[in-house]
């Protein structure tokens, strides 16, 4: 390494370690975000508060309630005496679901045509849809159980056996834990945000404080300045990757099924895009605030259109097309596959190629704009 490059890198490191804010951004924020998103960004619906209006109040109705109680989807939070009371509980948001058992439940059950009403608060669709299928499933299981015991009691020696059974197995994430899906996303988001923001502000800071003018008149070449500026942040971002990866592994039990070398290699490749966008922002912005804003403008669509929170398959076609222009999309699909499935490079090659092309394109565009001059 030539001495100009190494002295820029050393200078940058000294400045990073002296600046408490930058240090916090690098060391504290990623771990904080991991825990925040690891816990908060979950679609797992558990313990939906359920209000019950049991007008039958019979052993049969209590058996039905027991079935709901047994599954941890619902928690019987209120037992009410009227429909009005039940309605007001849902209106006030204290209950998200309600079960109404009519007075003639036990009698009609004996006739084989009992009905119960299940009401869901649809204002949060993702909770409601999970709760809906859970409610139906629990009800059907209960009904099948009653049927089975009846047939058994009739003593005809028949066994209840549905003609088709679907035997489901979930691969890679058998318990369907959201964290296993979210945490790889967090890694991608942190890598992208940190490199883009830090690169942009590090370059703009030189301009804002006027130090760029001294740098310009030194024999440093533009390329050396760019590399010297971004290499420290690349190394720190990779360090963050490892920290978040292992914290996610030990705390949230996210599997790491591919080789660490491959994961870091791909992450470094992905960093090209983040660094490129940061560098590009630095050529547009004059102040650190402007640089931050510019980066945020690319960060938000990246997060929403990369499949980080919302599945891409569910988006309208137009948004799906746009998502192909978002580097984070490719990285997320790669890192999730690598961590959860443990496959080799060959299965992720198309995404890797896309990521490489993007990284190179953005970097080239930024480097072309980045001139070592004042005007």
């Amino acid at each position: 390494m030539n001495s100009r490059l190494s002295s820029i890198i050393r200078k940058e490191f000294i400045q990073i370690f002296r600046d408490k804010r930058t240090l916090a951004l690098i060391l504290v924020i990623p771990v904080m975000q991991l825990f925040l998103l690891g816990y908060a960004a979950t679609n797992d619906v558990r313990n939906v508060p359920l209000a019950v209006f049991d007008q039958s109040n019979s052993p049969q109705s209590r058996a039905l309630l027991d079935s709901y109680r047994a599954a941890d989807y619902f928690q019987i939070a209120y037992v009410t005496g009227s429909e009005a009371e039940l309605q007001s509980l849902i209106e006030r948001g204290q209950a998200a679901a309600a079960l109404i058992i009519p007075p003639d439940y036990a009698n009609r059950l004996a006739d084989g045509d009992a009905q119960v009403a299940f009401i869901l608060d649809g204002s949060d669709p993702s909770v409601a849809s999970t709760a809906l299928s859970a409610a139906q499933l629990i009800g059907q299981n209960h009904a099948t159980g009653i049927l089975a015991s009846r047939i058994a009691r009739s003593g005809q020696g028949l066994k209840l056996q549905p003609p088709v059974q679907v035997l489901t197995t979930v691969w890679y994430n058998p318990d369907l834990v959201s964290a296993h899906f979210m945490i790889p996303g967090v890694i991608g988001m942190i890598l992208f945000a940190i490199t883009a923001i830090l690169t942009a502000t590090a370059v703009v800071r030189e301009r804002e404080r006027g130090t760029i003018e001294q740098l310009i008149v030194t024999p440093i070449r533009s390329g050396e300045l760019v590399i010297g500026k971004i290499l420290p942040y690349t190394l720190l971002a990779l360090f963050d990757t490892v920290v978040v990866l292992f914290a996610g592994h030990w705390w949230f039990g996210v599997p790491i099924r591919s080789s660490l070398a491959l994961i870091l290699g791909i992450s470094a490749l992905f960093l090209l895009s983040g660094l490129g966008i940061g560098l590009f922002a630095s050529t547009i912005a004059n102040t650190q605030q402007e640089a931050m804003l510019t980066v945020w403008m690319t960060l938000l669509p990246s997060i929403f259109l990369s499949g980080f929170f919302f599945p891409l398959q569910a988006m309208p076609d137009v948004l799906q097309w746009i998502s192909y222009a978002i580097p984070l999309r490719y990285y997320l699909s790669i890192i999730r596959v690598l961590l959860l499935k443990g496959v080799g490079l060959e299965s992720i090659l198309p995404d890797v190629i896309a990521l490489t092309l993007f990284g190179l394109a953005i970097m080239t565009a930024a480097a072309l704009r980045f001139r070592k001059r004042l005007d």
């Binding site: 002295s7 000294i14 006027g210 003018e213 310009i216 008149v217 024999p219 001059r373």
Partner: protein, 320 residues
């Protein structure tokens, strides 16, 4: 020649910041660039070191074309920009080291060289202090030190003493004069005239301009006058009169109306009159009569040797 600039031109939008400027500075010369704010001094400096690209014209520094052999040319240049622009979160020594290394000093060279230069500017005792905690004058010295650390042949100093107290200004000038008079800092085999440092310094202070070997006056992006301080002063020989009398305010208005008087400036309890070439005698006759007629008292009216300040004001006024 240390600096050779020919027909430099630089426009921002449709404002010509530098307009057909040519400048030649030989080794060992201190050249002062003066002019009102916005006259184009800083832009000129930036063009000379290649921080800005000229629209047209040519600049050579120690023979290297700034546009084509930019990095070669810059190796010869030490530049101190107007706004203090070193790293405030690095120490004095770290700053010097950074600039020494990026400008090509080897790992075993930078330390003795940095200490030597810190010694030279008097900052050796402060080497571990953060640059942000230095006083204004010390910052400028640190800037000078980092510009000097690679022994450049050309120093470009953009208003290095603006906002600095008189004692520090004095120190600063002593450093510059020592720098130019000794054949580049200790390096005996290069002690011939060609190896001497030349300095281009811009300043708003006329007492500093008077210390330069040559002074160039800029107005609206052009170099409108150039010469030794003596040559520039002689532009106004016999045209400056000093007047004492009372009441001064009335006399001032009176004097301004007298034929042949171009400019009247108040200096405390006296006035400086600039009169047209060859009109000093006529003014010396008519003005006392007028003052008397108006009921004022004239204490004295005598010719003064012109100062650079007078020249500055005259040249600035010409443009309006």
């Amino acid at each position: 020649m240390s600096i050779e600039a020919l027909h430099l031109r630089k426009t921002f939008g449709h404002l010509a910041a530098v307009d057909d400027l040519s400048l030649t500075i030989p080794p060992g010369e201190i050249y002062g660039l003066v002019g009102a704010d916005g006259a184009g001094k800083t832009t000129t400096m930036r063009l000379l070191c290649g921080a800005l690209k000229a629209d047209s014209g040519e600049t050579r520094v120690c023979g290297f074309d700034v546009a084509r052999q930019t990095e070669k040319a810059r190796e010869q240049i030490g530049y101190l920009s107007q706004r203090f622009s070193l790293y405030e979160d690095l120490t004095v020594l770290e700053n010097i080291r950074f600039f020494a290394e990026v400008r090509g000093l080897k790992p075993d060279e930078w330390y003795p060289r940095s200490m030597e230069i810190l010694e030279f500017v008097g900052l050796a005792d402060f080497k571990d202090r953060f640059a942000g905690q230095l006083s204004g004058g010390m910052k400028q010295k640190l800037g000078l030190a980092s510009a000097l650390v690679t022994r450049p042949k050309v120093l470009l100093l953009d208003e290095p003493t603006t906002g600095v107290d008189p004692v520090t200004r004095q120190d600063f000038w002593q450093l510059i004069i020592r720098l130019v008079s000794q054949p580049r800092l200790p390096n005996p085999e290069l002690s011939n005239i060609e190896s001497r440092v030349s300095v281009l310094i811009s300043t708003p202070y006329m007492d500093e301009a008077a210390r330069c070997h040559r002074v160039g006056f800029m107005r609206q992006g052009q170099l409108v006058a150039e010469g030794t301080p003596g040559e520039l002063r002689s532009l106004l020989d016999g045209q400056i009169l000093e007047l004492r009398g009372s009441p001064l305010t009335e006399i001032r208005h009176l004097a301004a109306d007298v034929e042949g008087v171009e400019n009247v400036q108040a200096f405390g309890d006296r006035l400086h009159l600039r009169v047209m070439q060859g009109q000093a005698g006529a003014v010396g006759q008519s003005l006392p009569e007028r003052i008397q007629a108006a009921g004022g008292t004239l204490v004295s009216l005598r010719p003064l040797p012109p100062t650079l300040e007078d020249v500055f004001i005259m040249l600035s006024a010409e443009g309006r």
